[in-house]
Subunit: 103 residues, 2 copies
Amino acid sequence: MSTETLGEKLRQIREQNELPLRKVAALLDIDVAILSKMERGERKLSKEVVLKLADIYKCNPEELLVLFLSEKIMYEIQDEDLGEKALKVAEKRVKYLKANKTK
Amino acid sequence: MSTETLGEKLRQIREQNELPLRKVAALLDIDVAILSKMERGERKLSKEVVLKLADIYKCNPEELLVLFLSEKIMYEIQDEDLGEKALKVAEKRVKYLKANKTK
DNA sequence: CTATTTTTGACACTTATTGTCAATAGAATA
DNA sequence: TATTCTATTGACAATAAGTGTCAAAAATAG
């Protein structure tokens, strides 16, 4: 199982594409420092940035987005003994909402 | 399946115990207005308040905490198509962390 | 060594969150 | 109805959290 963070994955992808922070940051229209921090997990990524990066690197946005969301989830339940139970409850509710979406 | 929010449940429990907001707020050492808003979902509950309330109402803290955490999770993935996938990834990671907790 | 890339930290700015308070509204009762 | 207790609402200030900008320092590449 992959235990890589989203930031680590993004850095890896950027390096595979041989793009410097400078260029990517310019495309994202953000400061190099911020992007550097995002890749190292010192600043939070936004959904918008994740989607733009998927576009820039021409990779599947879904995989990145799922990782992005799951990290936000993990952040909420970190160190909580009841985290797993809470996840199961949330899952049931999501399914319930989906089933009743159109009603 | 229960679709009740934590706030609604807490209000229900408080009414069953026939306690006015005033008294509970005093026990919690917070303003009545805040407790009122918490029960109606206008202000966020903190873990501390949830635990204190379980104590005041002499009810099982686990059930309340699970609901508390799952609402925080739901908040992060609301309206996201990939929410369910993200939940599954988070679940795998939590299990992984738990398995490697002592290592 | 020099140039480029990356990291770090300080700072100001904006946005969110939280607590406090008083006025208003509602419910129950004398 | 008048009174009292209870609950809601909104305004406001205080605080915390998140963001953007910048320049200096560190690391890396050529």
